[in-house]
């Protein structure tokens, strides 16, 4: 072989491969909060799609801090291409995108795949969680519904069973009151409805009574009625009738539950693995359904997060779509469920997990509540914080027995109407 031939071969090789690489390789900036199971999923995607480079940005500590970074990024042109946002913040991010004139929903990408494909993978109720104004602005990645986490030994000692666990709040309150009588610092239930940084607990109570958080015009509360009053009554009974300690923070009840000192707490299934690890073999923890105040009309707020595509470049959007399809595929969703406790968003994953569920009944409880799933209520114009700041202390006083349900309702009504009027 002559030098010339080698050079020609090299030139040919370069001529063929270099442009091919440049055209096919797309880099996606992926921004998300800290989730322990994500790195291995990203690694899996890299192997399955070597042509798409996932640039995994440093994870953010909280959803709200992530939203701030993304919105700042939009203002300076440095927003990530794919962002894992909580359901609660989808609407406000989509609103900013619309205002800036670069909002693109995922609807065209879904249309390209066809209706049959969508129906075969994603249930409509799950897809609804990530819709803003009827448009699919994100793809649900994880989904959860509130559950009761219970200490099996304490429940059985009080005469209850897991298989016949009460399905009404009054039944749960009776059981909790019996557990509280054991003494030695043991309490029946830990559920300080006002003691959370957002209104997730309170959404459970209002929605499970069959009400909405705001009225249709978004001028005030949507539970200024009999059902709303019932939600407040149950909220009060949970604490007052069981001798519950009311806290301004969820951590104390969580720690006491870990120590076997509380019978029942409310949690997302996404914390299942973390709870099982923390409890170890101190006691047997089981999950049961969150009771609906109104068994027919009641719903439960779905928590979790969804993948948003912020990139506008068509090549990047196409690559991001491949990433989204992979992350919500049957196998990956089964892995997410096993690693955390989240419900898989892909319908086919449930059947793939049947054997796993038989061995781990705690993971399956959440499916019993699926018909009650409702989208997390997103307040207009980021008013969630302003609303909650006034409602939380009222619920705290209610649970401490310093306010009646009848007195609390008008206070909440006036506060929320005030926030809505001055948004």
């Amino acid at each position: 072989m002559t030098v010339k031939a080698i050079l020609t071969a090299a030139a040919l090789a370069l001529g063929v491969t270099a442009p091919a690489l440049a055209a096919d390789s797309v880099t996606l900036d992926f921004y998300h909060s800290q989730l322990p199971f994500l790195p291995s999923l990203i690694e899996g995607f890299r192997k399955a799609h070597p042509d798409i480079v996932i640039h995994d940005l440093a994870p953010v500590a909280s959803y709200s801090a992530g939203d701030q970074t993304v919105i700042r990024g939009m203002m300076t042109g440095t927003a990530p291409d794919v962002y894992l946002a909580s359901y609660a913040s989808l609407a406000s991010i989509a609103d900013v995108m619309k205002d800036r004139g670069n909002a693109q929903s995922l609807d065209p990408l879904f249309a390209k795949e066809g209706k049959a494909w969508t129906a075969a993978n994603y249930p409509p109720a799950i897809l609804d969680l990530a819709k803003v104004g009827g448009e699919q602005y994100a793809m649900p990645f994880t989904a959860s519904l509130p559950l009761l986490y219970v200490n099996k030994e304490l429940v059985e000692k009080a005469g209850g069973t897991i298989d016949h666990f009460p399905s009404t709040w009054d039944g749960v309150i009776d059981l909790a009151a019996k557990i509280s009588k054991f003494g030695d610092g043991v309490q029946g239930i830990g559920f300080s409805v006002g003691g959370l940084s957002d209104d997730w607990y309170w959404q459970m109570m209002v929605m499970s009574a069959g009400d909405r958080m705001l009225n249709d015009e978004s001028t005030g509360i949507g539970y200024d009625n009999k059902a709303g009053l019932e939600a407040l009554r149950v909220t009060q009974d949970i604490a007052v009738k069981t001798g519950m300690s009311v806290y301004a923070d969820p951590k104390p009840a969580q720690q006491q539950f870990f120590a076997g000192k509380i019978g029942i707490v409310v949690e997302s299934p996404s914390d299942l693995v973390a709870y099982e690890t923390a409890i170890g073999d101190r006691f047997t923890m089981r999950t049961v359904r969150f009771p609906l105040i109104d068994a027919e009309k009641g719903g439960l707020p779905a928590g979790g997060n969804a993948l948003m595509v912020l990139a506008n470049d068509p090549a990047k959007r196409a690559a991001a779509w491949e990433f989204i399809k992979y992350m919500t595929s049957v196998a990956v969703q089964a892995d997410v469920s096993k690693a955390s406790g989240y419900m898989p968003v892909n319908v086919q994953s449930a059947s793939a997990l049947q054997g796993f569920y038989a061995d781990h009944p705690n993971f399956q409880t959440v499916f019993a509540s699926t018909p009650a799933a409702r989208p997390w209520f997103a307040y207009p114009n980021n008013t969630a914080d302003g609303v909650w700041k006034g409602v939380a202390p009222i619920l705290d006083q209610l649970q401490r027995g310093k306010l009646t349900a009848d007195a609390a309702l008008p206070m909440i009504r006036d506060h929320v109407a005030g926030v809505m009027a001055s948004q």
Partner: protein, 306 residues
């Protein structure tokens, strides 16, 4: 300003050279001046302008609402709550950290060998990062697992959970505030003490002022008055700026009991995205801090004629 009066004082022959000297001075100071305008003065003006609009962070559009944000602010119970909490916090932190530092300074001033050691010990909190130290403090003051909890349990007292109770949370933050501020004030007082001449001390001793409290009351304290005023105002400004501990430990909770002005500005502007309203809050904050600073300058000038 000075250069201009200098040129006026100079004679005619030198005028042209002096003008070019003034121009040269301006040219040399221009970069610093422009930087100051671009990074300090202009942003303040932008904030004032935004405070008259309903601008939401991230948007391209906005509407002018005049004084709307300010009238809303006056009727916002959470603004008054934050202001009240700031005032209470300042009222606890400033006297303790000022008089505590004065007391320590007088004690240390008499030390010869161990003085350096104590100076370092008390100054260490000032050099530490408050954000990181907040986490350490949250462990120290924890009602269930910290050393304080063990101490109380050992004495047979009920547990005290500092950051779960409204009143206690503010006191907990104040304890950290005093710890962080007292070392700084101590160093300033020690510097102030060095100007009190030893002749005065000896003379007062000869006149029969032997007791520690007598010396403090009739000699040290009056001579330290100007220093004290400056330290007092500086401490007020520092206390009013409390943010790190709130952000790390309480997030303004429980139920707004530790919400402070700076923290409220941060959450309203960046979490709730209400940049217009947040700017109005910032303007109010700037006015308050500005008043403190003017007070300091005014009292500082008075000191010169003391």
């Amino acid at each position: 300003m000075n250069t201009r009066s200098d040129t006026r004082a100079g004679n005619d022959a030198l005028r042209s050279a002096a003008v070019s000297y003034a121009t040269l001075a301006r040219v040399f100071s221009a970069p610093a001046f422009l930087l100051l305008v671009a990074t300090v003065v202009a942003p303040v003006f932008v904030v004032v302008l935004i405070s008259f609009t309903d601008y939401r962070l991230g948007r391209l559009t906005l509407n002018v609402v005049g004084l709307g944000n300010y009238t809303r602010l006056l009727s916002d119970p959470f603004f008054w709550g934050a202001l009240r909490n700031c005032a209470i916090y300042t009222a606890i932190v400033v006297p303790i950290s000022v008089f505590g530092a004065l007391y320590l300074a007088v004690l240390l001033d008499a030390r010869r060998q161990s003085r350096r050691f104590y100076e370092i010990v008390f100054f260490l909190p000032v050099t530490s990062t408050l954000t990181a130290m907040s986490i350490v403090w949250s462990y120290l003051l924890n009602g269930h697992i910290g050393p304080l909890a063990h101490l109380l349990a050992g004495l047979g007292l009920p547990p005290v959970d500092f950051f779960a109770d409204g009143t206690l949370a503010l006191i907990g933050l104040s304890i950290i505030g005093v710890w962080h501020l007292i070392g700084f004030n101590l160093i300033l007082f020690l510097a102030g003490l060095t100007v009190i001449s030893s002749e005065l001390k000896e003379a007062s001793a000869l006149d029969g002022m032997d007791g520690f409290w007598d010396r403090l009351r009739y000699l040290t304290w009056p001579l330290l008055a100007p220093t004290t005023i400056v330290i007092f105002v500086l401490s007020c400004i520092q206390a009013f700026q409390v943010f790190d501990t709130v952000a790390v430990l309480t997030n303004g909770g429980p139920y707004g009991a530790t919400e402070m002005l700076l923290h409220k500005i941060n959450t309203d502007t960046f979490t709730a995205l209400k940049a217009g309203y947040g700017s109005a809050l910032t303007v109010v904050y700037l006015v308050l801090i500005g008043t403190f600073s003017l007070l300091q300058v005014w009292l500082g000038n008075r000191k010169a004629h003391f």
